[in-house]
């Protein structure tokens, strides 16, 4: 029985339109996998020696202290990214499979998920170091690990259970952020209450049973609820909410562009996948803290300020823009047969990005706290984003041919075809160019000269707008048939 499921999975993976795409993609994905694994292992080694030799503390105690954050963060991370264990269930319902088998296969599949395995690359080397370098008893380390595995799988099944309950996850994420904040500012330290538990996993011979038990119970609950929902009108049904027709007439002042602008705003409001770009741009707003607070040494070079400036003001531009026109992939043939001038379509996307960049820049004024110079970097980054990067992303978009499934947000980082060589090459200047310009000005004359250079480049971009749009329009036209064809290929 399971053999059938496995062959089905195998075929669905290798025959999907995306998997069969180029060698470059595989190399690229492979590179990232190796990179992540490498970082985890390095992190384990670094954590062990860093804590022991620099801080002169016991590595295990310190790690145990922070494990509670790790655990909650893992849950939030999974919620955002881990795909639900959906095998193509509908055609199987009436075949002579036992439903229980289908469910246990679907759940069992998640056990091998990347999100579970990745933790091993941290904890295994860390545990080995504990035993070899720190004279920890291997049996206790083993119990500790079993307990952690229990927690990981508890998250795994919990995530399946709470999937699609957005409020709950915001609550958990919010609590994490608040507790983290209270901890950081020294008001309340949650870890004093949780560390003993994690320490207990190591110190006692029985506490590890608790997380294991919890994960087993969660598995059973998930199993039961899946089994119960295996009907077309229950778990397999797509949900629909009552909604209202919206006018957005106030946008009409943008003329012909407004038609598309109104549509794009609805696109972002009503589709999970598009909404996540807005969330990402908010995250990027905070990204600058890493640079300007000097939290990470490597980022302290002056040139990195511009890098941060580009990201802080351009989070939306970079995350939304890179998928133009794929956002409209599900109705691209409609667009191509309407009486539309491509320039109007493009300029609506351009306005959207410029407006979003503008808003981000206003919000980023909180960085004034770190001084004028810091905010200047963001301002200059914003000008460069509006003037130059907005055009580059649209240009690069002409080569993006990945259809986007608007209703799902699980693939935000998994759109493989989005990375082809052309887009990769085109995305380089988005970051490298302003950094180089700034470096020239900064080292040749002064920081202000650097800002001025980047700023001038941004202004120049505005001046060339029409020319660039014409060029992009031509590319879109020559790529039209290929794009229509590619958008027809569903995953």
């Amino acid at each position: 029985m399971f053999k059938h499921f496995i062959t089905l999975q195998w075929k669905s993976f290798w025959r999907s339109a995306t998997a069969s795409s180029g060698l470059w993609m595989k190399i690229f994905m492979g590179f990232w996998a190796v990179y992540f694994i490498g970082m985890m292992i390095l992190g384990a080694v670094g954590a062990y020696f860093g804590i022991k030799e620099k801080l002169c503390l016991d590595p295990l105690t310190v790690v145990n202290k922070f494990l509670v954050y790790w655990w909650v963060f893992d849950l939030v991370f999974r919620y955002a990214l881990q795909k639900m264990p959906v095998i193509n269930i509908k055609p199987l319902l009436i075949l002579p499979f036992k439903k229980s088998k289908t469910v246990s296969f679907a759940l069992g599949k998640t056990v091998l998920s990347f999100f579970n395995v990745i933790h091993g690359f941290f904890f295994v080397p860390f545990s080995i170091l504990l035993i070899v370098k720190g004279d920890a008893s291997w049996i206790q380390v083993l119990f500790w690990n079993i307990g952690l595995i229990g927690l990981i799988y508890a998250n795994n099944f919990l995530n399946i259970l709470v999937n699609n309950k957005d409020n709950l996850i915001y609550l958990i994420g919010g609590t994490l952020a608040i507790l983290g904040g209270l901890h950081y500012f020294g008001y309340f330290d949650i870890t004093t209450y949780t560390a003993p538990f994690f320490q207990g996993l190591y110190n006692t011979v029985y506490i590890w049973m608790l997380p294991v038990l919890v994960s087993v119970v969660l598995y059973v609950i998930a199993y039961k609820s899946f089994l119960k929902d295996l009907y077309l009108d229950a778990g397999l049904a797509s949900k629909s909410k009552n909604i209202k027709t919206e006018n957005l007439d106030w946008l009409n002042r943008f003329g012909k562009t407004a038609t598309f602008l109104k549509n794009d705003i609805k696109l972002i409001k009503r589709n999970k996948r598009a909404r996540s770009t807005v969330i990402l741009s908010i995250v990027f707003l905070f990204y600058g803290l890493l640079f300007f607070t000097g939290a990470i040494e490597a980022y302290e070079g002056p040139v990195w300020r511009i890098f941060a400036g580009i990201f802080v003001s351009g989070g939306f531009l970079l995350s939304f823009g890179q998928f133009v026109p794929s956002w409209d992939s599900s109705y691209y043939p409609l667009m191509m047969t309407q009486n539309i001038r491509y320039k109007e379509y493009l300029s609506s996307k351009w306005w959207l990005m410029v407006i979003a960049t503008f808003i981000s820049t206003i919000l980023a004024s909180a960085y004034l706290y770190f001084g004028w110079e810091t905010y200047m970097a963001i301002l200059v980054g914003a000008i460069f984003n509006m003037g130059v990067n907005s055009h580059i992303v649209l240009w690069a978009g002409a080569y993006v041919k990945t259809p986007i499934d608007l209703t799902s947000n699980k693939k935000a980082f998994g759109d493989k075809q989005a990375f082809n060589i052309k887009t990769l090459m085109l995305s380089l200047p988005k970051l490298a160019l302003p950094m180089i310009l700034y470096a020239i000005g900064h080292y040749a004359y002064s920081p202000y000269a650097g800002y001025a250079l980047v700023c001038i480049a941004g202004m120049a971009g505005f001046a060339f707008r029409n020319m660039v749009f014409n060029k992009i329009e031509r590319i879109y036209k020559t790529e039209k048939y290929k794009t229509i064809w590619a958008y027809k290929q569903k995953k």
Partner: protein
């Protein structure tokens, strides 16, 4: 007037469309029938410049669709669900299409009010996005959207499929009215021989990409078609 000249479409050595010459005069109601894979949708897609023919070209109102985009102002189509914007309500979708064709809200309201019995109370004011409507209701919305803005050429691919009997009858009435207008050219494809003979003055049978019959509709047409497909 639509003129197809020496058009072929080949996918890796496999010819799916091969039409030497086909003229559809203005005001015609043109029906396209054929089995699966006969090339009906391919022909319509080429007409809408959604695929590029391997050889030949198509002129719509004297404009080569591959070279110039002016045909878009007079042409509208509903081919499949890729012509719907799933996250809009039906009203928003109609207004969007209307705006693209230079109509204001009142004009659009005016047009769609004529089709209220066709909608059968299932399209307007539904508090649902198009993607959450049933296949049949999606189709209703798509077909009516193709009629917004007084197009001169209306292309409908399989408009009868997925519709309930009542709606099929109402759709036939709508298409007949369009066909009666000498300014409007209607192109319809269908698997249903009865429907298509009822609404079209001229029927073309495609088989493996080639035209094998070109009939002016008469009393005997349905019989002739049935015999042909019963081979």
């Amino acid at each position: 007037m639509i003129e197809v000249q020496n058009i072929t479409k080949t996918y890796s050595g496999n010819t799916v469309l091969n039409i030497e010459h086909l003229v559809i005069p203005k005001g015609d109601s043109f029906g396209l029938v054929g089995n699966n894979g006969a090339g009906k949708t391919t022909l319509f897609s080429a007409l809408l410049d959604l695929i590029k023919p391997t050889t030949g070209h198509i002129e719509n109102n004297g404009i080569d669709v591959n070279r110039n985009e002016k045909w878009k102002t007079i042409t509208s189509a509903f081919i499949d669900e890729t012509f719907l914007i799933g996250y809009l309500t039906a009203e928003e979708y109609f207004y969007f299409i209307g705006e693209l064709r230079g109509l204001n809200k009142a004009d659009v309201d005016d047009t769609i009010s004529k089709f209220e019995d066709f909608f059968h109370g299932e399209i307007l004011g539904q508090k649902k996005y198009l993607r959450d409507l049933s296949k049949g209701n999606q189709k209703k919305a798509g077909i009516i959207a193709a009629l917004i803005g007084n197009p001169e050429v209306v292309i409908l691919d399989e408009p009868f499929a997925n519709l309930d009997p009542t709606t099929q009858i109402r759709l036939k009435k709508i298409i007949k009215e369009l066909a009666a207008d000498p300014e409007i050219t209607v192109l319809v494809s269908s698997h249903d021989l009865m429907h298509v003979t009822e609404v079209c003055d001229r029927i073309v049978v495609l088989d493996k990409g080639e035209i094998i019959k070109d009939l002016a509709t008469s009393e005997e047409t349905l019989k002739e078609l049935e015999t042909h497909f019963n081979k």
